[in-house]
């Protein structure tokens, strides 16, 4: 299944509206309904449908551990923390917006001023056990430093594994190999963002 198919969210043409009558109340009406449903063959329609599917053998099973379905780019799975491409520093500027906005209270950060009087992030944890993957943190981040990744298999044997910053931060060698893709997904600006910006009075 290609990505384009996935992006097409217009599913309305496939909807079938089922008219719902009031359920019968009187015993005679109930009996009529049963008779109607019995002899109209609705029951056999059901039987036929499943039998047809069995014979057609049109299996839709994804052998999951062996094959996986593609994930939408805007999928909100485990977070990623990005680095600056040039310097390899973390993008996070320690503004603390993500900590403030997190409704599950799962982000925790400690900051201090370093010797250059720049803000330095000393501790940064996201408790994935509590996270509800709402995406607010990614949306609020001014630097695109925290984004949602595609990794949805996060089973583990220890709770401690759920808070490891290192798992989320792009490894340096990875960065050097140029594998850190610029994030187009959730929280990123849309491709046509410039067109959609309304000019403010200040711009004049």
């Amino acid at each position: 299944m290609s990505l384009e198919q996935f992006k097409d969210r217009n599913v309305m043409q496939n909807y079938t509206y089922i008219p719902v009558d009031k359920p019968p109340v009187k015993p005679m009406d109930k009996f009529k309904q049963v008779m109607k449903r019995t002899f109209k063959g609705e029951l056999f329609v059901g039987l036929w449908v499943v039998f047809r599917e069995m014979v057609k053998f049109d299996i839709h099973t994804v052998k999951y551990p062996l094959e996986k379905l593609p994930v939408s780019p805007r999928y909100r799975a485990v977070h990623k923390l990005y680095r600056l491409l040039e310097s390899g520093y973390e993008r996070c500027i320690g503004c603390g917006l993500c900590e403030k906005i997190c409704i599950a209270n799962c982000i925790r950060m400690d900051t201090r001023y370093d010797e250059n009087q720049r803000k330095e992030v000393t501790e940064y944890t996201i408790n994935l056990g509590r996270c509800i993957f709402c995406g607010y943190c990614a949306e609020v981040c001014p630097e695109l430093a925290i984004v949602h990744g595609q990794r949805y298999e996060n089973a583990s044997e220890q709770r401690a594994h759920y808070v490891l910053k290192d798992d989320m931060l792009t490894p340096l060698d990875f960065l050097k190999e140029g594998k850190q893709q610029e994030y187009p997904g959730f929280g990123a600006t849309s491709p046509n963002a410039d067109e959609r910006i309304k000019k403010t009075p200040l711009a004049y």
């Binding site: 049963v34 059901g46 599917e53 049109d58």
Partner: protein, 331 residues
């Protein structure tokens, strides 16, 4: 035949039937999962063995090795006995069912029926009816409100549908004039056109519907309706005790398949070029498949709909069928 020979033969038959049908019951679960999966565009068990064939074995091992949990407040002896009743009644019911035509092995003619009693049909029905004690006692003994609800549903559902079963089977019995399943089978020796189902289509449909209720299958599986009462009477069960309920249920399904085949579908008579032994296996298989088929196709009913269906629709139809049959026979 001497007493000893008789005893030995019977013992062997019992063992064979027990073994085969236990295995069949296990295999039934595999079949069910596969068929349901295919009908739902799935593959079903695939990983254990080729095409998941060894899944049965895996499940068996799992059930046997699981911890046997007995809740503290339950009535322990009865809690422990209840699943046994379920399995035992299912197999006892099989005792009076002629499974295959007579055949000869090593020069010995074998009657593939453990006990040929002349009230065979009634015996089978009676024993299957007393199988209701398994879920009933299980639910009542397990000190669990879902269990109790399941037990209550057992009482009303099985008790009510017993009536329909009995009445629906009465009309064919009137035609044949005997309660022995072998006599009923012999009545239909004439071939395809002689099947009782052509003479008693209404009875056949009623018998099947009631059979669904008696064996506690969808669309009438209210005793363990997952969406409503967790797992009904089996909520507190685990391990092999839980498994025994299912062996009983599948054995009952097979018994019912045999009954329907023998009474309505020509039994183990030769069917055209197909020899009788194979014919009945085919018929039973079809009925078994039909059980799975409906499970895939049809939704549950509500308990009140179930009772309504039994007493206000099926039973009157059954009575009318019996009366009409009686009049026709008199004329």
């Amino acid at each position: 035949m001497t007493f000893t020979a008789f005893a030995i033969a019977t013992l062997i038959k019992i063992l064979v039937v027990l073994g085969i049908f236990s295995a069949l019951a296990g295999f039934g679960t595999y079949l069910e999962r596969k068929v349901l999966a295919f009908m739902q565009r799935r593959l079903g068990p695939m990983h254990v063995g080729p095409y998941g064939l060894l899944q049965v074995l895996a499940d068996g091992i799992k059930l046997f090795t699981k911890e046997d949990i007995v809740p503290q407040n339950s009535v322990k002896p009865i809690f422990m006995i209840a699943p046994v009743i379920g399995a035992a009644t299912a197999f006892i019911a099989l005792a009076a069912v002629p499974l295959l035509p007579e055949f000869t092995v090593f020069g010995v003619t074998v009657h593939p029926i453990i006990a040929d009693i002349n009230v065979g049909v009634l015996f089978v029905l009676g024993v299957m009816a007393s199988g209701l004690f398994a879920p009933l006692l299980a639910g009542m003994a397990s000190a669990n409100k879902w269990g109790l609800l399941g037990a209550a549903r057992t009482a009303i559902q099985l008790l009510s549908y017993e009536v329909v079963t009995g009445l629906s089977i009465l009309a064919p019995l009137m035609l044949v004039g005997s309660l022995s399943l072998i006599d009923i089978n012999n009545y239909q020796t004439g071939g395809f056109t002689e099947w009782i189902v052509w003479k008693q289509p209404v009875a056949f449909v009623l018998f099947l519907i009631a059979g669904f209720a008696e064996t506690n299958r969808t669309p009438f599986d209210l005793l363990e309706h997952e969406a409503e009462i967790v797992s009904g009477y089996a909520t507190e069960y685990s391990g092999m005790r839980w498994g025994m309920f299912f062996i009983g249920e599948y054995a009952n399904m097979i018994t019912l398949g045999f009954l329907a085949s023998l009474i309505f579908l020509g039994g183990f008579n030769d069917w055209g070029f197909i020899p009788g032994g194979l014919a009945i296996v085919l018929k039973v298989s079809f009925i078994f498949f039909f059980f799975l088929w409906t499970r895939a196709a049809w939704p549950h009913v509500r308990p009140d709909q179930l009772m309504w269906l039994c007493w206000k629709v099926l039973m009157p139809i059954a009575v009318i069928n019996v009366v009409v049959t009686g009049f026709v026979l008199m004329m």
